[in-house]
Amino acid sequence: MSAPTVIRQGRAADAPPVLAEPTPRWKPALAVVAVWFLVWWFTKGTDTLVLAGRDQTPVMKTMAAFRDEMIAGRSTNPVMVVTGAIADALRGLVAWLQRLISIPADPRPVPIIGWLGVTAIATWISYAVANWRIALLTLGTFLSFGVFGYWSDSMDLLIVVLVAVTISVLIGLPLGILAGTSKRANSIIEPILDFLQTMPTFVYLLPIVLFFGIGASSAVVSTLAYAVPPLIRISAHGIRTVNPAMIEVTNSLGQTSWQRLLKVQLPLAKRTIIVGLNQTTLAALSMATIASFVDGPGLGRPVLDGLRINDVGKGLVPGLLIVAMAIMLDRLTTAASERSDVIARGGGLPNALHKRILIGGGVLAVVAVFVSRQQFWAAEFPDLGIGRAIARSADGIVDSIVSTISPVTEGIKNVITYGLLNPMQAFIAESPWWLAALGISAIGFVIGGLRGLIPTVVALAGIWYFGLWHSAMITLVMTLVATLLCMVLAVVIGVAMARRKSVDTLVRPLLDAGQTIPAFVYLIPCLALFGPTRFTGIVASIAYAAPAAIKLVADGVRGVSPTTMEAVRSTGASTMQQIRKVQLPMAKASLVLATNQGLLFVLAMAVISGMVGAGALGYDVVLGSFRSEEWGKGAAAGLSIVLLGIMLDRIARRAAEAAPAGSQRRRFSNRGI
């Protein structure tokens, strides 16, 4: 589609250009679908490129061969030697930390520091960097790790997260500063981050496993790869948005560029950088949980075990502990950033009292560490059996809840499955591949012009090449259906939130909580409610993508100026008219952005939900990640997902560009897995 035509007739030279009325894009798109449908009617079911069960195409075999060759050259191939050395170092570091706090340290039957010591130190640190409320939260969270019987797994997860976050800061902060201060560096870093964040993270796992081996090393590397982009982006943003007047003023005092960075830019961006750290920590937790797929240590393992055998009770307790850990890390990093402001301003507790509490707490922590090395009860958390008891009774409770509300859930499931999912799948996935390819390309062209068409064609060609066309189409259908439902939800709830303060106060904390919870945990309740089906995957995707989308819509609708709304009400417009004719059109940019985000989140989740019955590409990736003979197919599926993501992202982005400028926001982290 061409750029809007500019008309200039008999106007002052400096008057803004007059735009011609743009042609609506839904009309040609509808025409494309109509033609597609017509051809489909006569050709359906042919040339759909279904790949039966265990079949593998030559391309997949080539990839598997490549993998075998890399593994065989572990000690000769320079890349493998380097990554192998890094992997060994990471494994050694994690193992050392594990012996310190989580697993028996030979020859001792218990870790070097027992639970009492670890809990005391964590509580003391929380008090030191935040406040006493956060310290209590930390204390409670750590105790619950032990009480429910998952002390060791919890510590392992924390170790992976902390190691990954530490390395993220060491890599991410310098890069963020570079991107924030140098335009040229930014022009290199920015596209790489864009690409990394478009990529559904689960597909990192396959190549990372190849180069770093399974276990703690891969867990740390994949967590790192996922957690570092938000930090780079946000710290660069923080530095870039330091008030330029401030820079000019301090320049006028004759500072060097180094002084400018240390005394002006970094202090002024500190708050934003800590927000970045918060995002990075939560992202790390999310990914570290998922790294259990590649045998990463931590709480993800018992969750995964439960999900594999569809045993909800088993995954419930570790799932809740992951949530508890997420809340603790979130509050801790947030409070730490607020605290740093308070301290800088000489606020908080009177200095002397604060110091006394700090010293007292420190002494207590040291004593606790000492005791935990001497006394067995303080070293290993006594097995109270509470976790197992809960798991057992949870099964019963979950069963009874599910059977009570199953008419409702079944109803929803059937309506969506038979009303939307199956027809769309029949349409897109049962089209001959050439028809589907033509149809999708045409839609890409209608929405994004040549810049929409080219990536679409390239991505489709790639998907065809990797040989999982039919699965890819099913994943595409599920992604589209989930995005559609997600947007319906986002518009309904978002508009309600924007129009009524009470709804906002009620819903926003839930959304915040939803965004804090690691993606993996969403699967547990979805699985309980809907059993292992395609629909479960869709529900999990929606649950995962909706909070961000709802917030975007709510903020966009609220962004419509009150004076405009007042004027509209004065015309006598009804509530529905206000929403349909004013608020939604004016929030169009936010809607497009929310859709764009929703698509990527949903696609990312589609991979994880592959293991709870969603099938298609996600299943192949999951299988490839732990069955070496399926590695080639898994890699092909992973690459196909990446291509799908790039295609959807490009088309959505072109659509966003056409929306009114100014209301588009930068994407910091897409939190997606």
């Binding site: 030279a13 400096d14 007047a245 401030m246 000019e248 003023v249 301090t250 320049n251 006028s252 005092l253 004759g254 500072q255 060097t256 002084q259 005394k263 002006v264 202090p267 002024l268 500190k270 800088a344 301003r345 000489g346």
Partner: protein, 343 residues
């Protein structure tokens, strides 16, 4: 050259991709709008030359978009000039390396900004001492010096406050103290008081006058407020579209506006507060006219002379600074200026 504190010659700033190539071409004589349409360049400052004497308060005045803020930034190269020279005493600022320029900014020229530009994460005392910290002075020295400056601008007791805990006027006092802290030869003010409300603004203007008496710095003061310019300036430069329209003492600006633009500008000014007797007197008809009448200096402001002239029946003689008889004024001449304002 050295008798000027600051000497500016043929200074240009052209914004745009090929600004340097444009210097010296006839294109620069086009109007702003035409130049923008033709080559995408905008003239910020157009061929400006002036000198500022040591200890002088030199005011640059113009409406927004006149190029005055660009001009003051060219003087310290916060914006790089496209052409022309700036001399600071004997040294050419425009020929300096980055490093030399930093030294000048650290020791010789300080600036006060419209929106204060205080660092929100630093206390008042550390904001004032920031320039000293930048040039590497130790903590005791800079604290002591900063404390002096805080006292000088009347903020004693607020050293430990953060900028956002102060009112606008107090914040600008901090800005002033920061600029004074490095003991510069020249102070530059970029519309320092436009963000303040009128009463505070008047206080701050008096503060500048007081400081000028106490520390005697050379000052370059940018403003869009004519009353402020007249009140503070020893000399005033009026700019429009990047060009100098008129430059002179306040009474010269009011008494002999260069063109209709300036005339329109000054039409609301109470003339009796600015004009001196030189502007209202007439030539004596003979060297003996008004012999025996009291004599007033020609630099006396009309308002101040009014009482004496009106109290005396008949003419009053006007003499120049050497005591030579240069003119006469009567009640009529005075009333014409004073009464004209009321109508």
């Amino acid at each position: 050259m050295a008798e000027s504190a600051l000497s500016v010659r043929n200074l240009w700033k052209v914004f745009g991709p090929d600004a340097e190539k444009l210097i010296g071409t006839p294109d620069l004589q086009l109007s702003r709008k035409d130049l923008l349409a033709k080559s995408g360049h905008v003239i910020g400052v157009k061929d400006v030359s002036f000198d500022v004497a040591p200890g002088e308060v030199f005011v640059v005045m113009g409406l927004s978009g006149s190029g005055k803020s660009t001009l003051v930034r060219l003087l310290t190269r916060l914006i790089e000039p496209t052409a022309g020279t700036v001399h600071l005493g004997d040294t050419e600022l425009t020929a300096m390396s980055e490093e030399q320029l930093r030294e000048v900014r650290r020791r010789q020229i300080s600036m006060v900004f419209q929106h204060f530009g205080l660092l929100p994460h630093r206390k008042v005392i550390d904001n004032v001492g920031f320039g000293l910290e930048i040039r590497g002075e130790d903590k005791t020295t800079r604290r002591a010096r900063a404390q002096n400056m805080v006292d000088l601008v009347g903020l004693s007791g607020y050293e430990q406050n953060f900028p956002d805990q102060l009112s606008g006027g107090m914040q600008q006092r901090v800005g002033l103290a920061r600029a004074l802290a490095s003991d510069p030869e020249i102070l530059m003010f970029d519309e320092p008081f436009s963000a303040l409300d009128p009463l505070i603004r008047r206080d701050m203007q008096n503060e500048v006058i007081r400081l000028h008496h106490e520390v005697g710095k050379t000052m370059v003061f940018i403003t869009h407020d004519l009353a402020e310019a007249l009140k503070l300036g020893d000399r005033i430069l009026i700019m429009r579209d990047g060009e100098i329209i008129q430059m002179g003492r306040p009474d010269e600006i009011i008494g002999a506006p260069a063109d209709d633009y300036v005339k329109d500008f000054v039409s609301d000014v109470p003339k009796s507060h600015v004009l001196t007797l030189r502007w209202v007197m007439r030539e004596p008809s003979s060297p003996d006219e008004g012999a025996g009448a009291p004599a007033l200096k020609d630099s006396t402001i009309v308002r101040d002379a009014a009482r004496a002239v009106l109290a005396h029946d008949g003419l009053v003689r006007v003499v120049d600074e050497h005591g030579a008889f240069v003119g006469v004024v009567d009640d009529e001449d005075i009333l014409r200026v004073v009464v004209a304002e009321d109508s």
